[in-house]
Amino acid sequence: MRDFDYAVPSTLTDALALMAGASVARPLAGGTDLIDHVRTGRLAPDLLVDIKKLPELNRLEASPSGLRLGASVPCWKVIASTEISRDYTALVDSCRIIGGIQIQNRASVGGNLCNSGPAADSIPSLIALGAQCVIASKDGTREVPVEAFCTGPGKNVLQPGELLVELKFPARAVRSGSHYRRFIPRNEMDIAVVGVGASVTLDESGQRITDARIALGAVGPTPLLATDAAQALIGQAFDEVAIAKSVAAAKAIATPISDMRGTAEYRVHLVGVLLARVLKAAVARARGETFTYQPGH
C-alpha cells in the first residue's frame, strides 16, 4: 500500500490544523472505504487523520430538540441506540444493511455520506429525515442540507481542509414514521440496485398525510430529494390513488444508468415498487404499528 503518515488528534482544533496542513490529508473514521481506496490507488493521501478520538465526532445525543450524530459514530452504535431505533427508524434500516456485521462494526454514517456513492444506503434516509451536515474547517463552520452535499459519484461539497463534524436531525414529529429499503438480487452484502427512503407525518385521524420527505438512491449521479413525489402526498388521504401519484412523480426524476446491476428501465420500475412499499411501512410506523424490516423479504 502507498506510504502515508498517520495522526490521531484528540481535539477538533488539532484535527482541523492537520487537515489544513498536509498537501493531501484524508480523515479516517471506519476506513472500510478509505483503506480499500488507498490500496487500489483510487486515493493517494500523504496523511490519514484518525478522527475516532474526537469528542465532537463521537457524539450520539438524542434530545427533545432532535438528534446529533457525530460523523465517526459507527453503524453498530446507531443500530444499538434505543432513541434512534424509536425515532429515526429509516437510519437504522440503512445501517443494518451497510455491508455485513464486520463492516457495520467499523463503518460510520458520516463516512458513508462523505464517500458520496450514488447507491450509498444511508443517504436517502438522511435526506428523508431532514438531516443537516455540520462542516468545519480552521476558518469556521457551515451547515449544508444532506440533499445538497453530494455533487456527483464520489464527489461532494467538502473543500480541502474541511471536515464533516456531525449530522443534525430535527425532532421526530408526532405521528410520523420513516423507512428505507433497497432492492438487491441477494439478501444481504450487496450494492443497492435502487434504494428509497421516506418519512411521513399523519394528521390526528391517522389517515391524511400532513408532511412527507422522499429520497431516491442509485437512480442518478447523486441521491435525490424527490420533492414532487412528497408534494403529491401532502394534504391527501393515504390511499392507492395518492401512492400512484407519488410514484409517478418519483419515477419522473429518476435518471438511472444501465449497468450490470440493472437496466435504466428496470431501475425506474423499481422506484415505483419500492416507493409504494416504503410509504406503506412509514405510514404504519407513523400510526404506531410495529414494522420490522427484514432485508430480503
Binding site: M1, R2, D3, F4, D5, Y6, V8, L28, G30, G31, T32, I35, D36, V38, R39, T40, L48, D50, K52, W76, G99, G100, I101, Q102, I103, N105, R106, N187, E188, M189, P295
Partner: protein
C-alpha cells in the same frame, strides 16, 4: 517513508507490543510481524471475511483496520479460541460437521460465530445466515457451516448449563 510506530495491544489475553508502519494493516502485522498465521488473507477489501478477528469483542475484517488503529485494543484471533489442547465448542462443531473443505475461510467463520454466540446464544437459522453474510466460503455451499453453528450453539448452552 513514514515513521514507524510502537503499538500496544492485548492479543488473546496477553499484552503485546509491535513496531509497524502506518500503512500496515492489522492483518499484515498479525501474520508477518507476530507470526499469528491463523488469520487468513482472502480478498483484502472487506468482502470475504477470511481475516475476521475480534476487536474489543466485535468482529472486524482485519484487512480494513490499520495496525496503528488497534492501539489499546483487545484483539482476539483464532489462536485464542481453543483452551489449551481442547477445541472450543465452535471448533469441535465445525470439525464434526465437516463444515470446511479447503479451510481458508474457516478461521474467519470461527471468529464470526464466536461473536454471534456471545451476542445471541440461541440464534435461528435465519439469524445465523444473516450474521455470517460477511463471510464467504467457496467450497461448502454454507449448509454444513450453518448446521455446525446451530450445533455449536446447542453445545455451548449445554456446557453453560452444566
Amino acid at each position: 517513508m513514514a515513521k514507524k510506530r510502537v503499538v500496544s495491544i492485548k492479543l488473546n489475553g496477553d499484552p503485546v507490543e509491535f513496531l509497524c508502519e502506518p500503512r500496515q494493516t492489522l492483518l499484515e502485522v498479525l501474520r508477518d510481524t507476530l507470526d499469528m498465521t491463523g488469520t487468513k488473507e482472502g480478498c483484502s477489501n472487506g468482502n470475504c471475511g477470511a481475516c475476521t478477528v475480534l476487536m474489543d469483542g466485535r468482529p472486524v475484517t482485519s484487512c480494513l483496520v490499520l495496525a496503528v488503529e488497534a492501539e489499546g485494543a483487545e484483539v482476539r484471533t483464532v489462536e485464542g479460541v481453543a483452551c489449551g489442547s481442547h477445541l472450543a465448542p465452535v471448533q469441535q462443531a465445525f470439525l464434526e460437521g465437516a463444515a470446511l473443505q479447503c479451510g481458508i475461510c474457516t478461521p474467519g467463520f470461527i471468529m464470526q460465530t464466536e461473536a454471534l454466540l456471545a451476542e445471541n446464544p440461541s440464534p435461528t437459522e435465519e439469524q445465523v445466515r444473516f450474521y455470517l453474510a460477511g463471510n464467504l466460503c467457496r467450497c461448502t455451499g454454507y449448509d454444513k457451516i450453518v448446521r455446525a453453528v446451530m450445533c455449536a450453539a446447542d453445545k455451548r448452552r449445554a456446557a453453560m448449563d452444566d
